[in-house]
């Protein structure tokens, strides 16, 4: 061993968070002051574009308004009315593809109307009426091939499910066709990138069951309806997901035993598994929600009565496209009442948002899971308190950028607010070692903290306290290894360091931690 070149590493311990607590922006109000706005819905693409729609009261009627962002939610356009005025408009829905096309649909009076945009929501077409009679509860989907499908309930003898499709991003629409034969409720629809679609709804008969119909040609033709829930129990409020490989999972509430049930398909909805019950029998459950990623990770949420009037948000997960499920567990705070869960998932992250009481207030809270439902982060309150915030919706892209929208009173009116996920810089990868600088009569014992390169330009900050105050040293680098050297250390004394990385926008990462002994 060469005495004067020995650099030796002692015990090194690196810690990283098991889950990354997301950071959210402060609420941004996007609706106009002086008007009551509510029932917001949001959808976003893969490039930071998002469109939010809601209904807003103009004194006598509700109009449908839209606002869009091109920077992941940081700034929003002035709201514009996209519906007809002079009539009550409600239950808006929005869907957008990755090429800037979007379709919005809502109930206008007793009809279903739609508009389209080809510039990420900057401008909109005039409303078109799709329904022929009394219509309500529209839903819309779109893909990047120009396929769009709208499904709704329309009275024709009974209230039945009707669909219309478009092959030009919602510019023109086919005449609507009924795909259910008896009274039906709560239609939901999913569409993949190649035109496979599945619609589910609650259909009345001897029992109220969940049925599906699928289309392999983007809504041009539909299969006969097939019951996928238990035939001899009443079920309602279906939800459905579909991936690009034909895997689909449906979720609904079974009324008879007051449970959440599910079934899955691996052939674009042609055939379905037997029904599984996810919640415990005897619990009071409502509002089931489901989301699935391309790897087969599925998360289901619902609200469950704890002790009236308190509800929990229960969550369960599957890692095999819905074939098997974990036991449900509460993800909302104990002792607080939580309702209206919404879930978004991609291949690396799942985010759940819901409305929860926070002390005497009610706010919108979020939690995230990087292990697809196994563990969840502590709740983060997104909305300001003091006034009630309700009815959240969430959209997330494949990179984990997410926007949450809700309505909240400003003391005079109900306004639409959003919060977007702040893109935190990556946590630096660090390691620690000890080194001696040897002089004839003395030694400088140094703690060396090595930071692996990060490709973007930024600044590393070295702290010796977990509060991350008063950095010991700051070093700027771009894609190069950075070394912090803490001089004149005492042998036998361990020291813990915290290193963050700050990008050019001034956003500082969570700290990486190393203890050098």
């Amino acid at each position: 061993m060469r005495l004067f070149f020995f650099i030796f590493t002692f015990f090194i311990t690196c810690f990283q968070s098991l889950w990354a607590q997301l950071e959210w922006s402060s609420p941004i109000t996007i609706s106009d002051a002086g008007f009551n706005s509510e029932t917001p819905q949001i959808d976003m693409d893969e490039s930071g574009n998002a469109i939010c729609v809601w209904r807003q009261q103009d004194g006598a009627n509700f109009n449908i308004l839209a606002s869009h962002t091109t920077d992941y939610g940081e700034s929003w356009s002035s709201p514009q009315i996209i519906s007809q005025t002079g009539v009550n408009n409600q239950t808006p829905q929005i869907a957008m593809d990755t090429l800037g096309h979007a379709v919005a649909v809502w109930r206008s009076g007793n009809t279903v109307q739609t508009v389209s945009s080809s510039d990420y929501g900057a401008t909109w077409s005039s409303p078109q009426t799709l329904s022929a009679g009394f219509a309500l509860d529209p839903e819309v989907v779109i893909n990047s091939l120009g396929n769009a499908i709208i499904v709704w309930r329309e009275i024709s003898g009974s209230v039945r499910i009707k669909v219309s499709y478009s092959s030009d991003y919602g510019t023109t629409w086919s005449p609507g066709v009924f795909i259910s034969s008896t009274s039906s409720f709560s239609p939901k629809i999913v569409l993949d990138s190649t035109g496979n679609a599945i619609a589910v709804w609650q259909q009345s008969g001897a029992f109220s069951t969940i049925v599906r119909s699928y289309s392999s040609n983007a809504g041009v033709s539909w299969s006969p309806a097939l019951t996928i829930s238990e035939a001899t129990n009443n079920s309602e409020f279906p939800q459905i997901t579909l991936d690009e490989n034909g895997n689909s999972v449906a979720l609904w509430r079974q009324q008879t035993n007051d449970t959440v049930q599910t079934a899955y398909s691996s052939d674009y909805g042609v055939s379905w598994s037997s029904v599984q019950t996810l919640s415990n029998i005897g619990e009071t459950v409502q509002d089931p929600r489901i989301a699935m990623n391309s790897s087969g990770n599925v998360i289901a949420l619902w609200r469950q009565l704890n002790s009236f009037p308190d509800y929990d948000i229960q969550a369960t997960y599957s890692s095999d496209f819905g074939a098997s499920w974990s036991s449900p567990s509460a993800i909302s705070d104990t002792g607080e009442s939580a309702i209206r869960p919404r879930i978004a998932i991609n291949d690396s992250l799942a985010i759940a948002v819901f409305q929860q009481s926070v002390g005497t207030d009610t706010g919108i809270v979020s939690t995230d899971s990087s292990d697809f439902g196994v563990t969840w982060s502590p709740l983060d309150t997104l909305s300001d308190l003091e006034f009630i915030a309700i009815i959240p919706d969430i959209s997330m892209d494949s990179s984990g950028n997410a926007i949450v929208v809700w309505s909240r009173s400003d003391g005079s009116n109900t306004r639409i607010q959003i919060s977007y996920e702040l893109t935190l810089p990556p946590v630096p990868t660090i390691s620690g070692s000890k080194k001696k600088e040897i002089f004839p009569l003395r030694i400088d014992l140094q703690n060396i903290i090595t930071c692996d390169p990060i490709s973007e330009p930024g600044t590393y900050k070295l702290y010796d306290n977990s509060a991350l105050t008063n950095p010991i040293e700051t070093l700027s680098a771009t894609n190069s290894t950075v070394y912090f050297v803490d001089h004149l250390q005492n042998s036998g004394v361990s020291k813990t360091y915290y290193v963050t990385w700050t990008n050019e926008s001034g956003e500082e990462s969570e700290p990486a931690i190393v203890t050098i002994e």
Partner: protein
């Protein structure tokens, strides 16, 4: 004219030779006619008649400590001075003071550092004539060695001074040069070891402060 110049040169050479051989080994005046007598006396007379002396001794010190050698090089120039006092012939008391300043670079960051060394030795010396103009001596005694380190290292606000006690031993040859002047060919081993806790790093440091010294000095006897 030419004859005159030749005569002058011969005269100068004669005078130089005459001056050069006008004192014996012990500094006593002799004349040309006494040279054969002086050579005889240098062998037969008591060599302890040598008086006290003062020496200036340039030398080279090879560091004993491996860390010093890595940082400062194998050694460096040292200047010393020594006084000898006759006690009982052939025994003398000596006192020797040296000074060395070496520069080098810290390891591994190559920070400029200098080290100043001051060894001070006391002891006894025995001088033993071998020929009329040549004596051998040996010496030994305790020492004190002080080291001062300075550097450009910004994290060390001040220099550091360390000292230790050890022992010095040495041997040499005294060659009579001219009247009271002698050439001293010498070698010393300066030994001093220090073990201490570094106040900066709390690490125990062990260093040998001295080394092997050799050189040629000029001695003046009186």
């Amino acid at each position: 004219m030419i004859n005159s110049l030749i005569t002058t040169d011969k005269l100068c050479i004669f005078l130089l030779l005459n001056i050069f051989f006008t004192r014996d080994f012990y500094g006593r005046e002799i004349n040309t006619n006494q040279r054969s007598v002086r050579q005889k006396n240098s062998i037969t007379e008591n060599p302890c008649n040598l008086n006290n002396s003062w020496k200036i001794k340039p030398s080279y010190l090879l560091f004993q400590d491996k860390t010093f050698r890595k940082i400062l090089g194998n050694g460096d120039f040292m200047i010393s001075t020594e006084v000898d006092f006759s006690i009982v012939k052939p025994l003398y008391f000596f006192a020797e003071l040296g000074y060395l300043r070496a520069k080098g670079y810290s390891i591994p960051s190559h920070i400029l550092v200098s080290l100043q060394m001051i060894p001070f030795s006391l002891g006894l010396k025995g001088i033993f004539p071998i020929k009329s103009s040549l004596s051998l001596y040996i010496k030994a005694g305790p020492n004190w060695i002080g080291l001062k380190e300075n550097s450009d290292y910004i994290y060390f606000k001040h220099g550091v001074f360390k000292y230790t006690f050890g022992a010095t031993s040495g041997a040499g040859l005294l060659i009579h040069v001219y009247e009271n002047f002698f050439l001293d060919l010498f070698t010393n081993f300066i030994y001093g070891r220090k073990s201490y806790i570094d106040k900066y790093s709390n690490i125990r440091i062990k260093r040998y402060f001295g080394g092997f010294q050799f050189g040629a000095g000029l001695s003046f006897s009186y």
